[in-house]
């Protein structure tokens, strides 16, 4: 790990100004991914701007009934917040399916969204990786890739985005709020993470010097239920092989709202628009859920060793949607 400067800031403006004035600056919040990557040599900031004590640690009700989640709200606190747990259970469940109790006490909302892929080649600086070193190649394409993408990848990068929380946010139509030298802007959570194309070095739409300040959730639908389910190699404390976040509203046996997102399958949370379109207005039956999931996953292009993810995601989506529909039917 190279030496670096350190600066603690007290306001968002100060943070953004400090970042603009210092080449090689990075923001530090919980540090659970950044410090890890600095130890690996993957990240080598020249200065860390500590934003962990900014007043962005609140979960606030919005006038429209939505929720504003500050970027430094700890994952554990967010999962436990009654407003989240009671009104957006999919988000609470996704957070609790990730990492460990210790990590959730430290990791922040912003940092969770910005965490980087766990692809083994990305983490090893002695190996090529287009995401880490553009143009060096992607050994994962024909190498160790059981855990990597089946959707949205490119010949340049087949990494997956590892956050569970981000999958729930995508299904909830959240927006990500950014503050940079040129002011504030908001990006839909579904668009925040980028597909790699030929520039896999850019994980997200965040621009140089921008600070992630908040995530906003629209008001929850009163008639909808939501759930997150994750499959992993051990019972806890492992990244997803595949996961599903679903929000479903059923009226008189017919789907009136469906939001479905997959995790562990793609370089970003994979919002399943094709499946949702197939579900809208359809009877809430297991057959229709299966058909809709299959329509979405028809686009999958598995690699040599990760073809299992397609039937797994299919099965998982059907299980979660069926469970939500059954609960809706049960009242």
């Amino acid at each position: 790990m190279r030496p670096f400067g350190y600066l603690r800031v007290d306001s968002v403006d100060e943070a953004v100004r400090a970042a603009a004035g210092q080449p090689g600056a990075q923001f530090l919040a919980g540090g659970t991914n950044l410090v890890d990557l600095m130890k690996l040599g993957v990240e080598a900031p020249r200065v860390l701007i500590d934003v962990s004590r900014l007043p962005l640690d609140r979960v606030e009700e919005l006038p429209d009934g939505g929720l504003r989640i500050g970027a430094t709200v700890r994952n554990a606190d967010l999962a436990a917040a009654p407003a989240v747990r009671d009104r957006y259970p999919v988000l609470s469940q996704a957070l609790l399916a990730g990492a460990s109790g210790q990590l959730r006490n430290t990791a922040t909302t912003g940092g969770n969204l910005l965490q980087r892929t766990r692809c083994t080649y990305f983490q090893d600086t002695a190996k090529p990786c287009n995401k880490r070193e553009p143009g060096s190649g992607c050994p994962a394409l024909h190498g160790t890739h059981r855990d990597l993408a089946v959707l949205g990848h490119s010949p340049h990068c087949v990494a997956t985005q590892p956050s569970d929380m981000a999958v729930a946010l995508a299904a909830l139509d959240a927006t990500v709020h950014l503050h940079g030298p040129e002011g504030e802007r908001a990006v839909p959570a579904t668009d925040f993470h980028r597909l790699p194309g030929d520039s896999p070095e850019r994980d997200t739409e965040i621009r140089l010097g921008e600070l992630l300040t908040a995530v906003e959730l629209p008001p929850p639908r009163a008639d909808a239920r939501s759930r997150y389910r994750k499959v992993r190699d051990r019972a806890s404390f492992a990244f997803a092989l595949a996961s599903v976040a679903a929000v479903l509203a059923v009226r008189d046996g017919v789907v009136v709202h469906a939001a479905l997102a997959f995790g562990g399958l793609a370089p970003r949370p994979w919002r399943a628009r094709t499946a949702e379109a197939a579900l809208h207005g359809a009877p809430a039956t297991e057959e229709n859920f299966a058909r809709a999931a299959a329509a979405e996953l028809a686009a999958a292009a598995p690699l040599r060793d990760n073809g299992f993810k397609v039937p797994l995601a299919q099965s998982l989506a059907v299980a979660v949607l069926t469970d939500l529909a059954d609960r809706a039917a049960a009242g």
């Binding site: 790990m1 030496p3 050994p139 024909h142 190498g143 060793d305 039937p311 797994l312 299980a319």
Partner: protein
Amino acid sequence: MSHPPDEAPFPPGPPPHPLGEPLVRREGREKVTGTARYAAEHTPDGCAYAWPVPATVARGRITELDTGAALALPGVIAVLTHENAPRLAPTGDPTLALLQEDRVPHRGWYVALAVADTLEAARDAAEAVHVSYATEPHDVTLTADHPRLYVPAEVYGGPGARERGDFDAAFAAAPATVDVTYTVPPEHNHPMEPHAATAQWTHGHLTVHDSSQGATRVREDLAGLFKLGQDQITVRSEHVGGGFGSKGTPRPQVVLAAMAARHTGRPVKLALPRRHLPAVVGHRAPTLHRVRLGAGPDGVLTALAHEVVTHTSTVAEFVEQAAMPARMMYTSPHSRTVHRLAALDVPTPSWMRAPGEAPGMYALESALDELAVVLDLDPIDLRIRNEPGTEPDTGRPFSSRHLVDCLRAGAARFGWSARDPRPAVRRRGDLLLGTGVAAATYPVQISATDAEAHAAADGTFRVRVNATDIGTGARTVLTQIAAAALGAPVDRVRVEIGSSDLPSAVLAGGSTGTASWGWAVHKACTALRARLGEYRGPLPDEGVTVAEDTRRETEQPSPYSRHAFGAVFAEVQVDARTGEVRVRRLLGQYAAGHILNPRTARSQFVGGMVMGLGMALTEDSALDPVFGDFTACDLATYHVPACADVPAIEAHWLDEEDPHLNPMGSKGIGEIGIVGTAAAIGNAVRHATGVRLRDLPLTPDRILTARAVPLT
């Protein structure tokens, strides 16, 4: 070998005596308060920190080493390379010939060592060392028909290949057969304490704190490497954070720390980074198994073949002796057991808990289960029908063998009799349920050990033996053995272990520790007790000391086949939608001689079963064919079981009398827990789903790919 007649059978007196009592771990308080110090937790004045540099090619030579940038960093003291490092004399362990030449035998082999005033600077310096290589083509991929396979001359004291009778003819003639292949991937020990050493030279004397399973062996190897007398070296391993075989021999950290300390003239501390461990501290080699069983309609085996293909490195030969248990487990007039080995450009494999038995019994006990299905026999019944009277391969009598009792007692406890043998018929919601059983075994070995017992004038006792407590409870059980032999309360006995300055002892490995150390302790304490009987009146001020060793008792091979046995029962659930397998219940029933401390013994059995659960379900590693390394190199990618994976586990034992062991009547228990567990779980998965999976571990992708679950 039975104990000599001049030594009283143990225990010497009537109860109450401390042997067999659940004495609390002697160092437990230090461990729960954080005051127990491990190898990297000694910081002599002026201590420097070291950080190693691993090779980034799989095979080749170093052509250029640029240490200029590293040496220019603030706080950096030195960078050791093969160009400037102290010369080492060759020893029997070529993995310790570190920084001696430009050759890179595998990726991750250490090529340099940075030393600095602080840990941060050492790490930074290591990253700044620039190494150029002339690479050569490499091969790290083991296949069942690899062109470089050979049969090793010797495996674990026996032949690499063994034929008895006419296997081919018997198998061809057998009415019922099984011919199957299994694979066990490379596995990593990953003790929670990474390998670490702190080394210091003082007036020509080398003192190291090393994370080791045996400080006597470390001292011997250091003496050879540095051309020193044994009395010029002290190796301490007071507390060791697990090893599971990976600390059984000296590892790079202790050699590098000693070299760096000599080179810099400062004490040096080196803790290996977790990500380096798979390449430099050994691993369980992958094994490809072909098992063929031939049996009559009654289930009695007529032909048994277990053929194992595995790898070693180009540095040293190590054979995962996985066909060994097939030589002693079941009766079979015609048998073939073969190990084939290819020396690849891979890290050197080594011991991992129950080397040989763990993968070998996975394959054999899975195959037995397959035969039970073919014959429509209960798998316990099938094993009972194949119980041999004497050891099949040698004809030697068993000193004791209570496998059948374990199967029956375990079955009763587990509720086996109610089992419906039909597969895939127990569904609870999305979960398919199943149960399975497997046998376990582990050999009994004893090595010569020295021990010293001292009676102080104040009525207390001190016992000295260079045993190592790697978490087994050695300190505790040796206290009990000593106290029982002395006829003294345990709180008047202090046992000193974990230093090469103590009387020499075998390492903590191969489930031999308690028997080997305990016998020497028993002998010394028994002799001391006799000596004390000669005194009338107070002891002299300096007390009375007796030293003994067990060379005579251990030099002759036993005329008996000596093994511990057990039976493992598992209940699993398989999620029909996701392929996730979870163990719901695990029960082990063992026969391992006298159990000397039920509290620590239970932890040993259960701990082994937990590692077996990991072997069955979560632990997966592989060599990257392009880069030549283990890609699952850390604890995020190599999944050792987490707390949530592990249900309540029961371990039970029979009180087994065996007069042919040692004065305590004990068999080793550190390894048998892992043996058989993976097979029991795999057999339960087959019972749950109706599909047999033969490649470990049983992760969701494998369950789904095999279509073992219906999905939706």
